[in-house]
């Protein structure tokens, strides 16, 4: 679960990490009032969870409260990557000498958290890692001890600091690590953390992604995920509530399958045959008929979907349950769109019988079914 910049910054501030003074606003007037409490010049920043708001014009600067109001108005009327901006963060613009990067993420191979730092911050860190790997300082964190304060200082040294600045930066790194662990962050980063003109350090931007699987330990965020996350589409919210994995894509073939790998391979096969998947939807293992029906309802409610492709390989999932789910969805929601079904595995015969009797044709080969789905999606026109 991604936190908004303002949520992340508030957490950092509460944990003793210096951040620019700022406030949240949801209207231009609020933005102006917020600015009155701060020292100009101001930065006004769109609060969205998608990346790339800077390039999209979601960050503006202002020298007066009046200008801040105008900037906020402009941003609040914006859409960034299709997402309407609902709030802005107004903060004091800082006098930057140097932009650094510091973050904690996980490393799959070493099965550990890893601290990543760079003297080249403020840009895409993966790009730095790719083009200038020598500018990246990676520190594997021993899971049994966490990031030691001395390690935080060693990192500060390796990105070029010494003496008091090394100590200060070390303390900030240490605090960010502690904060990250407290909130089960799979990613926590300051990009950039800046050295100001007077030699101090400040987190100019912050990003926190909480491990979804840990939300049972963070009930306040679990609640906020389901209630306040303004950026989820209707389909995404529904899927989340039904415990289904759903991702919206750009095409027109709606996909429902069981198992993440199989569904991914289904999308790839559709693409291989020249079609465009409209979504990823995994009903998981052993789905009951109601789950199948809920899944179909979600996919069918997407106006972009021209054709529906159901790909089920029954293991724990029983084909007869899937068949019942399809008929249930057909009865309740109505399936007006063309549908292609591939159904094999546990109770395959029974599942086929149920569907065939209801007049629905069932295929056995995933490739054949994918080709047919692509063909159908093109007939409908887009």
């Amino acid at each position: 679960m991604k936190l908004f910049e303002y949520e992340a910054k508030n957490l950092l501030t509460n944990h003793g990490i210096p951040t620019p003074k700022g406030e949240l606003a949801t209207t231009p007037t609020q933005a102006q009032k917020a600015a009155e409490k701060l020292k100009p010049p101001y930065a006004i920043k769109a609060q969205v969870l998608v990346a790339g708001r800077g390039k999209a014009g979601g960050i503006l600067f202002a020298n007066s409260t009046e200008e801040a109001k105008k900037a906020a108005e402009k941003i609040l009327n914006m859409q960034i990557k299709g997402i309407p901006v609902k709030s802005v963060w107004i903060e004091e613009k800082i006098n930057i000498k140097k932009e650094l990067y510091f973050g904690i993420t996980t490393d799959r191979f070493s099965q550990s958290y890893v601290a990543v730092a760079s003297a080249s911050g403020g840009m895409d860190i993966e790009e730095v890692a790719e083009k200038h790997p020598e500018k990246i300082v990676k520190t594997t964190i021993n899971p049994l001890y966490g990031l030691h304060p001395f390690q935080a200082r060693q990192i500060a040294r390796k990105i070029g600091y010494s003496s008091n600045q090394l100590s200060e930066l070390g303390r900030i790194f240490e605090k960010l690590y502690t904060l990250g662990m407290q909130y089960d962050s799979e990613l926590i980063e300051m990009n950039p953390i800046v050295e100001t003109a007077d030699g101090n350090f400040m987190a100019a931007d912050a990003r926190i992604i909480i491990d979804d699987n840990s939300l049972f330990r963070h009930q306040e965020y679990k609640k906020r995920l389901l209630e306040g996350n303004s950026e989820l589409s209707q389909q995404e919210l529904e899927a989340m509530k039904s415990g289904l994995a759903y991702v919206k894509l750009n095409g027109n073939i709606g996909v429902v399958g069981n198992g993440a790998g199989l569904v991914m391979a289904t999308l790839d096969t559709i693409q291989y045959y020249g079609g465009k998947p409209a979504n990823f939807l995994d009903v998981g293992g052993g789905a009951a008929s109601e789950t199948i029906a809920a899944a179909l309802k979600i996919v069918l409610s997407d106006p972009d979907v021209k054709t529906l492709f159901i790909n089920i390989l029954g293991g724990i999932t029983r084909c007869d349950e899937v068949a019942h789910g399809i008929l249930e969805a057909k009865a309740k929601v109505g399936i007006a769109k063309p549908i292609v079904i591939r159904l094999v595995g546990t109770n395959e015969q029974e599942g086929k019988r149920i569907l065939t009797e209801a007049g629905i044709h069932v295929l056995e080969s995933m490739e054949e079914a994918a080709q047919k789905a692509v063909q159908t999606s093109k007939q409908g026109g887009n």
């Binding site: 699987n213 991914m264 999308l267």
Partner: protein, 288 residues
Amino acid sequence: MGIIIDKNTRAIVQGITGTQGTFHAKLMLEYGTKIVAGTSPGKGGTHVHGIPVYDTVEEAQEKHSANASIIFVPAPFAADAAFEAMENGITTIVIITEHIPIKDAISVMARAKQLNTTVIGPNTPGIITPEQCKLGIMPSHIFKSGNVGMISRSGTLTYEIAAGLTKNGIGQSTCLGLGGDPITGLNFIDALKMFEKDASTQAIILIGEIGGNLEELAAQYIAKEKYPKPVVAFIAGRSAPPGKRMGHAGAIVMGKVGTAESKIQALTEAGVKVADKPSDIARILMHG
């Protein structure tokens, strides 16, 4: 033969009294797996399908001396179950449970390294050495004994491919699900090393997906060590957009890291044949 488990494996089922635990304990028993005991704190003294249930692994071990465990315990308690198994002498642990927090998984793996315990999963369909032993939730009938080893990050995709192999008369030595989470016990390199030593395995299928760089590291390993057995691969997620989690917690492209293209390129450069579609794998194995 095969790797990690065979007909001598003696297993306990942790969380045997839950719906999944009870259901799959039966299927494993029917497959011939030696399930010697089950555990479920608070339910000690009962039986499930004739299997004695204990409150603690310690007690189960005193009476049955198992060497493997399969965990169906809910996510908030799964790490504790894994520690319980490890600290009580279990050397192979299969964690079926999905949605275990990363922090918990990291902690489990650190201790497993110290104790030299083999951990499979979490979020795995498990492992099967066909016609000998199954510690997992996979449908058994699609597997048959043979000479191809499988290593996979995905459940149903493994079934899809295994079913294709079996239909084409190609049997499997062992099929191993690494698990769909970012942090798992075994990785591709660990499994490749095991299959290298297993005389019954003549070729290996590597089923990867987007997220992380473990496929790339496996490719480097294959190239560097001149891996002596043929490897065929399939990578799911070519059509996945960056920043989106595709069902598995581990299936996500972060920035530029973890794309299918990167993995396919690395594997191809290492001399591994990468299939375009799942059904191509059997074809490549048979005809090269």
